[in-house]
């Protein structure tokens, strides 16, 4: 089975989500190979889960003030702050037949690649169901999956060097989550690669590529013309639209 690797590139939040969807469609239609994609968010952005209420999760006024975009994902899960220098996002898009049918087992398998990448960097991390990766109990990676038309899409972030002050000035942390985790200060709940080890962004990226491509036959290429066109269309017809982002 041949895979396509789409090398790291930066886009705005709306295009990033539109590209993941356009690639899912082309993989479902059989016109593209199963795909591993790495990307960054520029300008910085917050993505919220499909079922989240936008006003409850994000301080939108502050987002506007800081020039931070906000987009609703088509995957569930929580709100994530994406800073171009602070993290690396991946997506893996392939037939769901290539993964365990059980959702948690498939999270574990894909997140295992991130755990291994962190291991290559000398960081001991573990998968924490449902969809997190933690180092000493602190979250270093969040992940979200959906399945549609026989295709599994999982995207997630690995925190490289997080600006926690900025992150938590934008994200509202609901009381119920704080109570559950027994830590009043949300900043104590996250960590980043730089907090663990003095490794460069490039080394981090190389480790992720190595781990995600291990044992897979890989060809590096970009989006096809039709994927790019479809992504542009989805960005303007859905992801940039208030009807979508303010759906809840």
């Amino acid at each position: 089975m041949r895979w396509r690797l789409i090398d790291y590139s930066e886009n705005d939040a709306f295009m990033n989500m539109a590209i993941d969807e356009a690639v899912s469609e082309s993989v479902a239609g059989g016109s593209s190979l199963p795909t591993i994609r790495f990307y960054g968010w520029n300008p910085a952005a917050v993505s919220i889960g499909y079922f989240q209420g936008i006003a409850r999760e994000i301080d939108l006024e502050r987002c506007v003030g800081l020039g931070v975009d906000a987009v609703r994902r088509r995957t569930g899960g929580g709100a994530v702050f994406h800073d171009p220098d602070g993290e690396i996002t991946y997506s893996i898009i392939a037939s769901e037949r290539l993964f365990p049918k059980d959702i948690i087992a498939s999270y574990k398998e894909i997140c295992g690649r991130i755990v291994d990448a962190l291991g290559l960097l000398g960081i001991q991390a573990e998968f924490k169901p449902i969809n997190d990766i933690v180092v000493n109990g602190k979250k270093i990676s969040g992940n979200a999956q959906t399945r549609r038309s026989g295709v599994l899409l999982q995207h997630g972030t690995v925190l490289y060097s997080v600006d926690v002050e900025k992150m938590f000035s934008i994200l509202r942390v609901p009381d119920e989550k704080i109570k559950d985790k027994m830590i009043a200060d949300a900043r104590e709940r996250v960590t980043s690669i730089r907090q663990q080890r003095n490794v460069s962004w490039e080394e981090t990226y190389e480790a992720l590529v190595e781990s995600f491509t291990k044992g897979r036959e890989i060809g590096i290429s970009g989006l096809t013309e039709s994927e790019r066109a479809r992504a542009e269309e989805l960005a303007s017809s859905r992801y940039r639209k208030k009807e979508w982002n303010w759906m809840r």
Partner: protein
């Protein structure tokens, strides 16, 4: 609005508007997962029009049949029914 972080699961919030002791609208939000995602609309719709006195097990039945073969991750139908019942109260 009734919110709860489900033990071992995700945050679920249910907001209900009542009119003449009947449920006029339902909004279910949170960081849970549901495949396919757009099934949430049928789920919410299945609870609209129910009397405020609906039992938890009846609400759970409606939720289950609205979800059909959809997969809910991070909360159970029982959790949703319980939160709905609490939100209606």
């Amino acid at each position: 609005m009734r919110c709860e972080k489900i033990k071992g699961g995700k945050l679920v919030c249910i907001e209900v508007a009542l009119e003449a002791d009947k449920v006029r609208s339902v909004s279910i939000t949170g960081d849970f997962f549901l495949h396919p995602e757009d099934r949430i609309a049928s789920l919410e719709e299945s609870l609209v029009g129910t009397p405020a006195s609906i039992s938890q097990s009846e609400a759970e039945g409606r939720i289950k049949s609205a979800l059909g073969d959809a997969q809910l991750i991070g909360a159970s139908c029982e959790d949703l029914a319980r939160l709905f019942k609490e939100a209606v109260r």
